[in-house]
Every structure is written in C-alpha cells, then in structure tokens.
Subunit: 434 residues, 3 copies
C-alpha cells in the first residue's frame, strides 16, 4: 500500500543537538527584520541550526496531524512517524481511542517498534525485551533475583492527543496551546458527515521533496502556480485563493463558472444541512486554520478530468455526490480534502533542513471494492501528478534560496495564504525565542 | 555531448549560510601563520566554514571563467553554471554579446532555467511564469486587476561580464577588481589567432573530484607529478615548470629536445607574427595569470602520442600545424591550451569543501567533420586519461589533509606555480577578511 | 578474503577540524552531570563535535588494537587502517617486528599506500614518487640540481607500537599512558599458548553499523540481550556477565550447566597449565581490560551449534580441544575470543559520529586446509549472524538517541560492564578536557 522510501535512512538523518547560540542570535535578528508581504530570507530554508529551532519551536510545541483512524482501524494497529529527530508511535487502543507514544525504549533508547506500520499487542522492545502496555506502562523487564527496578519510572513517554472527526493530532509539549480545543468544535461539523471511521485506506504515497518543509507549505498555500497543474485544474477551479475584483483577465471565464457552481453548491449544502461558510483564521490564532466547502468544476463531484465521482460509494451519511470539496488548511503542516466519494489527507513531515517527506493518503468508503467501485489509478491520478509537479516547484526554490544572490520576493494578492503562513510561523518563532 | 553527473544533486549541496565567527577567527589565524614555501594547513581543504569564506572572498569577488562562446554560438543559447551556492545563467544575446544572470526568480526564488544548457527566447520561470528578457528585465508577471507590481524592481540580477577572445568571464562583485582590464590586452593577442568564434564544441567532460577546489588547482600548477601522466608526457614536455639549471638528471635528455623544439617554435612564431614570450604575473597582481606559447614533443602539433595533429582543420587565421601550445593559467580556477588544431578549456568548479567539478571542453574548427577531420576518441584521449589520473592524485591528498597528523610539506622548485597559487589565495583572503 | 565496503568513501568522511568552543563547554557540562548507573545523554552519540573530541581524547591518546600479525605474516606485508580522520599503515618489518606509520606523505599530504592491504618494499607515494623505508625514513625525492631538501625532516610520522602475543597495538600520542605495559604481562600468558604467529586469516568481515562507536561497545559489553543471538547462545552461555545470586529464573537451568562446565574446564586448565582466573580492571585503570577463560556449552570446544570444534587443527601448543574460550575485553574498542581451534578478533573502528566499521577476523592454524580441516561457512556462521543481529540493535539505539525525548535509562546488574565502559570513557574524557 505504501511507497518504499527511495533514499537510505542514514542520509536523511537530521543534524541533532542543541541550537548553537550563534544561530539563535542570527535567527532573532532575521525574525525581527522580517519584511511583510515578502518571502523569507534564505537561511530560513537552508540553515541546519534554524531547522533545529523549527523542530523545537514549531513541531515540539504545536498540534501536529499524525494519521487518520482509517490507517489504524483495529485495536493494536499502529503507525510509526518520524519527523526531524522525533520518533512516535500512533497506536489504536483497545477502547477505540488513540495513544501517541515516543518510540524510544526507556532502558537503552532503542526504537521499540521498527516497522512503519503494523499491529501489535503489548509492545516488546527487540533489544532486551522490555515490554510496554498500550498506555506506555512498563509491564515487564527481566531482572536478576534481588534486583530492583521501579517500573513506574520507566513508562514510554506519551504525547497529548486529540481526535477530530477521525483525524489524530498530537502535541509533544507538556502544556499544549489551548486554543486548539476552541478550533475543534468549529471544524468538526464540516468533517463529521464524511465519517472517517467508516473509511479505509485505498493508497498512501510517500515522496521525499528536496526542500525545506516551509517551502512545501508555501507552495501548498497558493494557486498562482496552478497553470503547472493541468490535471488538477480540470476539477479544482484555478481561481482558488482569488475573490471578486481580483480575477485576472485570463481566468474570468473560469471565475464565472465558479460563481455559478458556488451558488448551486450552497443550495445543495443548505438542503442537506452541510456547513459551507468559509472560516479563515490562518494567522490570527495559534491553532491557525481555514475551512470551507467549495465547488469543483465539471460534474462537481470529485478530482477527476470530468469532475465525476472516482468511487461509487458515498461516504458516511452523505446523500449526494455533487458536494464539491470540503477543504481544511492547518498550520503548521497539513491539509485535507473531504469529498463525497473519498478523502485525501496530506502531511509535510520535515526530515532535515533540505528534505521533507510528503505523505498523501486516499480514503474511500470501507465497503468500496477496488476494481468494482473504484479504480485505484484513476482515484489517485490527479494528486499523484500534482504532488510530483509540486515537488519540482519546491526543489527549484530550495536551490534558489541557497544562493547569496537570493533576495526576498513579493507575494502577490492571490498568495495571501502564503503570507499568512509566514506570518504565523514568524509569530510562533518569536514567541518561542522570547 | 556532456557527461551526466554521476551523483545526485542533493548530496552535492554545500553548507550555505554565514561563515561562523569562530571559523573567521580561526581562518584569520591560519592566514597569519601561513608558512612560505609550504603547503597550507589541513582546515583550508576540509573545513566547511572556510569553504564558505572561499565562496565569498574568492568566487564572489574575482573574475571567473564560465564558458567559451563556442558553447553558446547562437542568440538565446545558454549554459547554467552552479558553483558552491551560486547559480548563474550564461546567455548569448541577440546582438552577439553575453549576459550573465543569477538564475533565481525574483518572485519566490525558483531556478528560472533548470536545464544545464539549451536555447531560450524570453526566460519564463516554470513556477509562476514570471518572464524575463535577455537583459534580465521582468517583462511579464500575471497580476489581478488593480494589483500593483513595480516590474523595474524585480529584474534578474546581473553579474559583470568580459569576453576575452571568446572566453566569457564573470564577476559577481558590484565593484570588480579593476586590473583584469589591464590583463585583457596582454593575453588577447596570444589567443585571438585561434578564433574561438569559428569553433564548435567537440566534447565536454564533467567529472567530480572528491577534493577541495584548491587541491585541484595545486595539482594543475605543477608537472613534478608528470610521471603519473604517461599519455600526456608523449607530447607535453615533462620538464614543464623547469628552467635551465633546474633539470634533474633523468630529464636532461628531454630537456635538450625541448630546447631544440623551442628554438624552432620561436622561429615559426616570428614568421607568422604569433606571440610566444612568457608573461608570468601569477601572484604579483589581483588578476593573476601566466601565458606563453611552448613547444610540444614529437611532431610538435598536438596532444597525441606522436605529437601529430588531432584535427585536420586549422583554427582561425593559423597557417601551420606546428605551433605547440599556447597555454594560459588564470587565478583562481581555470586553465587553457590553444593549439593549431583544437582548444581545450578547463574550469575547477567548487561544489563543497570536499568536492569539485572539473569541466573540460574540447573545441575544434566549426567546419571540421567528426569521423572525417577528427576522431573524437583520439581527440579527447590524452586529457581524459590525464584528468582521471589527476582526480586520483587530488583525492589522495584530500584524504591526507583531513588527518590531525597531516603537516605542511615543502614545495619543490618545480612547484613554484603551486606556491604562487597559494600566495595569491592567501593574499586575496587576507584582503577579504580585512 | 575481505568484504568490500558497501558505501562510497565520500559519504563516510567525518567532519574534521577543531572541536568548537561551544561543543567543548557543552561536553564539559555533560561529563560533569553524568548519572552513575545510567546510559549517557543523547549528544554523546549524535554530536559531530563530541565525535571530534572522542577522536582526540580517546583514539588519539590511548592504545588501540590495529591487526594481528597473522594479517601481515611476511616482511613488507601491510594493512592500512583509517579511523575517524586518522590514516595508518601497519607494516611488518624485515626483522619480524611491526611499524605503525601515518599514511600521509610529508610532501603534499597524499595517502602513500592506497590499498587496504598488500605487500610492499620501500613505500613509494604515487603522487611524486617520494620513497620511504620501512621505518618511515625518506630515502628518495627527486630534486633539481642544486635544490636542497633535508630528508631527515620529512620522514613518515610513526606511532608507538606494542605487540602482545601477536596482537598489534598502537598509540598515536607522543607520551602513551604507561600502564599498558603493566597490563601486557597480565594478559600475555593467557593468549600465548594459542600462538597467533602460527595462524593464518581464514576470513575477515567488515560491516558498517549505522551507530556511534560507543553504542557498538556498549552492545558488546552485555549479554542481557543474548536472547537476540540464537546461534551464539548454543555455545556461549547466555549467563555471561552474571554470577551466583544474580541468575534470573529463566536462566537457572543454563546456569547449573554452566557451573558444572566451569568446574571441568578449570580442572583441564590446571592440568595443562593454562590460566583461567578472571582479571577484571575495566574502569579501575587507564588500560582498562578484562580477561578470563570460560566454559562453552555443549561439547565445550568452539562456537558451533553443538559446541564441537570448527577446525580440526589445534592452535599453538594446545593439546586439547575442550578449552572453552579465553576472552579479552579491552577499552576502548576491541575484544577477542581465543579458542583451541580458532581465534576471533574484533575492532570497532569509528568512521564518524553515526557510523562505525566493525572488523571481525577469524584465524585458524596455518596448516589447516580449507575444505579439509575446516569449512569456512561453518567457521564463520555464528559470529556473522551475531554481528548482523548486533548491527540491528546498535542502529535501533542510534535512532533513539537522536530524539529530544530520549532520556538516560538504567543499566541492569548484568550490564555492569557497560557501566564500566561508560565510567572508563567519562574518566578519560574528563582528564582529556582538564
């Protein structure tokens, strides 16, 4: 189901250890002189020290999407997730909940689970057989007669977890930012009708982009480059990110079609009681997000050349295929499209300052039969192509950012979400350093 | 025409960013205690911070050979050239001139041209279609109605250019060292009769040597190791770098042949009005160089086992095949051999502190027909072999320089040009730091 | 005879140069707060700066095992050995001694010998033919008439050497720690009867473990993980490291067998005049070591599934096959098993902070005939398997140590030799920094 990573592990190793004092001073200065409306300076994308600071200040502090429960449907199912220097286990528990645990044995630091996914009972470290329960409790360690080991002191470390309509989020900080709990009730009603608990993974693609995670995100947050996505542009209106009065001449015809489709979609949503209003708080809160339901071109059903459905089975409680896409953008590193017939989740998982794993997962109704209800190649075609195109874009920018001749360029009006991402990042890092 | 590079891009990525203060202090000390007549201390060849300083102080400030006009014969032809963190476009213009531009889109920093060579009209960035004219002017960027973009502020950055007898040089500094303009009239008369504008590229070899760029240069600047070049030694007298009174016993016979050939060559040059006097200013000026016309062994015509011509077509305005080699050494990173039947250009292009791309290009008369007037394997044999031998030498030294037990060794009399290179480098870096 | 290394040289290059001041301050603090009885903090295993400090403070100062004389049986035979940034030649001399020389030409720093092993007369650098005698003396360098070169100033640098029962040790420091000379007479009587001088190399395995050298050593110093070595556990009692009163229930039966075998072994040793008492000074002296002769399970003869001999020829002056294993542990990076029918030597050779070459060499009697007296696959089976299992264990820990969530874990009683290794390392590094 999953692509094999094409590069050996050792080359992906991030530079770990403390952020050097000199880097911190440099970073502080760079954050202070950040120029609004412009891309960031080169070192944000190329400096190993700033990458370490990102791991601490962003990925070590904020809510991060890990997997959906469709990836771990049964008790004992798990996914292991590495980002930067961190190694996590995302484990479905017997009561149907999810625990996120640091994948590090408390004895000698070995990885406890070594596969990228699987199913386990108690977790047994392969080195000295220390055995942990699903909540991380150390339940067995071989000892000599008379040898004392206070098992309560050596449980696997746990991270905070929130499950939002089947999406599993984790926060590594002991005191997570509180406002994510305010965001959950805002976004859950949009997603719940698609009911991830009744879906299954049709496919997962893991590609490594030779670019900093922030370039991956910036690329994701604008459609100014959508001429470079011919397959996607068949269904996703390339006017995305634009609004009335901002439509360039060559997109006017598309925009008119979009407006018409929007009216129809809103009628449908109102009929079925589906939320469709845009909520956009990308850089105005800590748990920055944007959610909306937007129309698709052509048949308006799914990400295909014609806009027609890609799976014959409707998701969850939905009663109509023509529901456009419910799209969610989250800071710092994930985005999602919920359609009537399938869901696509995306995560940009940092490896080191110049490499990012982009994981894309396609979910379909759990009773959809491959080859009967959906064709896997057709289902995945648009985003596989789009991801490869985006990989090329990101890599072109990474190479440029390394040059001393690189200079910050202006974001265009249609790139306002890129600006919002950079604003969000800059604010979080300032807070972190302070 | 060009070898594919054998290592993927991402492994060649230099460590970019500022030179750490600690490195700068260390470098200052190392430069101060430089021991005349001896090789440099290890960190000059192995330290990533000193590599960054080299990029700033040498490659960011001085005149660098990029390509000959034979590589870009038609308007719109271009070569892209990366060295260290820099990325350049070398572009033939409609009026037959050459522009050198930083290959970095002013919008989001993407590489504008992504191929290593090709032909282009206006340059269109593949990311958001920002379009630049041959002089770098931004001539198109899609905007929304009412959106303002001051195109004049976002032209591709240009570097300074000088064309010397068809060799294209660039300087990335805003105020290039002035004395290169004094050097041009000294060397142009030697090269002009070979007329690069009437040549074509027969072959280009790109090899990556696992060694610092300075070791590549030091190796190039002496023939004390020429016993390791059996193919080259057939035509290039291995007494190169020596002079009367400095000839070791085992080379005395060769020297006598050399002296005789020299007399004959000078007669020929005088007859045809060709310059042959040695001008040597390797470390006595900023634009350090050495030029000469020297005899070849055997038939004295070209770099072959017998010394006989390798192409049947004479270059430019030349009227005789027996003209030895007109050789040019330039600081910091290039050298050239102009013969009656072909030209070979060499550039040592730094990748990172332990890897250097050596690019060798063979030019023949533009009306020479492969397989009829020249055989490509024969034409390239001597320098292909020599380059591989030099690669091994450089790599042996790079490994040695990394050891704490490495100690500076003495340059021999015949290595005086190596000493001159190190003198030149040391002076430039002192000036840069000061 | 030797595995080819599977990764290209350039990727193994350690980061050379000075230890940054910031690293040194951090290291000092980490050493000060070292928690007794617990594994070390993460940066000891992942920080490139601490690796450099290890190279200076451990490998640059202490006695290191290089090879046995069985690898260089004839005058002129040599092995080259690189660890971290160091490059050495281990050379058998005409008088049967061994010289260890830095493999760095004194002229331009080239590697003098470029093969991993071979046979040589005078050593001729391949670059400019500088020629050295077996003691490192420069005996030839080509000069011009009148050119002066004081050959006495440019001998290959030599390291200190001690040969202990055929094992060649070197120390790179000018003033080696003196107590190794006290250790030699303690261990030599155990090893001498196996007489390495009458053995030959049957096989050498070189594997690269993706882990810090200290993790390789810590793994070697305990058998708490021996459930992970099913092949080894057939002959090596998995109660190794335990003693009466420390036997966990599941090992009680094995322990009883061990005790019985021990009694029989000691009787045999006494009969033949072989030493068997344990001497254990792992962290109580600078030249830390442990030596013992211990019983094997089953037939008690060798490392096979049945405990039966793997070679039909007895070593040296031995007169019985059932002699268990005489095992030697040395700080910082080697261990050895001397059996009646073969010897296995092990060295953990640091490459960089996250890679270690583990070299295992099997020696048999020099008159043993492959295919007749021993089967090579059978001879090497147990330790080849065990090494691969250990490689996996080390790599699991290296990944864990990189995580900010990694925390020092407790060493169990049976891991007391791991604690001793860490104690030894910590003391040596404190002394080095002070």
């Amino acid at each position: 189901m999953s692509y094999t990573l094409t590069r050996p592990r050792s080359e992906q190793r991030p530079d770990t250890g403390f952020v050097p004092a000199e880097t911190l001073a440099q970073l502080t200065e760079l954050l202070e002189r950040r120029r609004t409306g412009y891309s960031m300076e080169g070192p944000f994308y190329t400096d190993p020290g700033i990458f370490k600071a990102d791991m601490e200040g962003i990925f070590g502090k904020h809510w991060i999407f890990t997997a959906s429960i469709a990836e771990i449907p049964e008790p004992g199912d798990y996914v292991t997730l590495d980002f930067g220097p961190y190694a996590l286990i995302v484990l479905r528990t017997d009561d149907g909940g999810v625990n996120v645990l640091h994948n590090i044995c408390r004895h000698r630091g070995a990885r406890v689970l070594t596969e990228s996914r699987g199913s386990t009972g108690n977790m047994v470290c392969g080195y000295h057989s220390w055995t942990y329960a699903e909540d991380g409790t150390l339940i067995h360690a071989s000892t000599a007669p008379g040898e004392k080991l206070d098992k309560e002191c050596f449980a696997l470390k746990r991270a905070q977890v929130r499950i939002v309509a089947g999406l599993v989020f984790t926060c590594l900080a002991e005191e997570p930012p509180e406002d994510f709990d305010e965001v959950i009730p805002l976004i859950e009603p949009y997603l719940a009708p698609h009911d991830i608990s009744q879906t299954k993974v049709a496919y997962q693609q893991n590609i490594i982009e030779e670019g900093n995670w922030k370039l991956v995100m910036e690329n994701n947050r604008e459609c100014y480059h959508c001429d470079g996505h011919p397959e996607l542009a068949c269904s996703l209106f390339p006017t995305w990110g634009l609004s009335d009065g901002l439509i360039p001449p060559h997109l006017e015809e598309v925009w008119a079609r979009n407006v018409e489709a929007k009216i129809q979609l809103e009628e449908r949503c109102d009929r079925y009681g589906l939320h469709h209003e845009v909520i956009e708080q990308l850089d105005t809160r800590i748990a920055g997000f944007r959610i909306s339901r937007e129309s698709l071109d052509g048949a308006g059903e799914s990400f295909s050349a014609t806009g027609r459905r890609l799976s014959k089975k409707l998701l969850g409680s939905l009663r109509d295929f023509r529901l456009g896409r419910c799209s969610l953008h989250l800071q710092p590193n994930s985005w999602f499209h919920f359609l009537s017939d399938h869901i696509v989740t995306f995560a940009a998982i940092p490896i080191n300052e110049h490499q990012t794993l982009v994981r894309t997962t396609w979910l379909v109704a759990d009773d959809a039969v491959e080859g009967v209800d959906y064709d896997l190649d057709e289902l995945t075609h648009v985003w596989k192509q789009t991801n490869l195109q985006d990989k090329a874009f990101v890599e072109m920018c990474q190479l440029g950012a390394a040059s001393p001749a690189y200079e910050q360029g202006p974001y265009m009006d249609s790139e306002y979400q890129v600006e919002a991402f950079v604003n969000w990042y800059t604010q979080r890092m300032r807070e972190h350093i302070a």
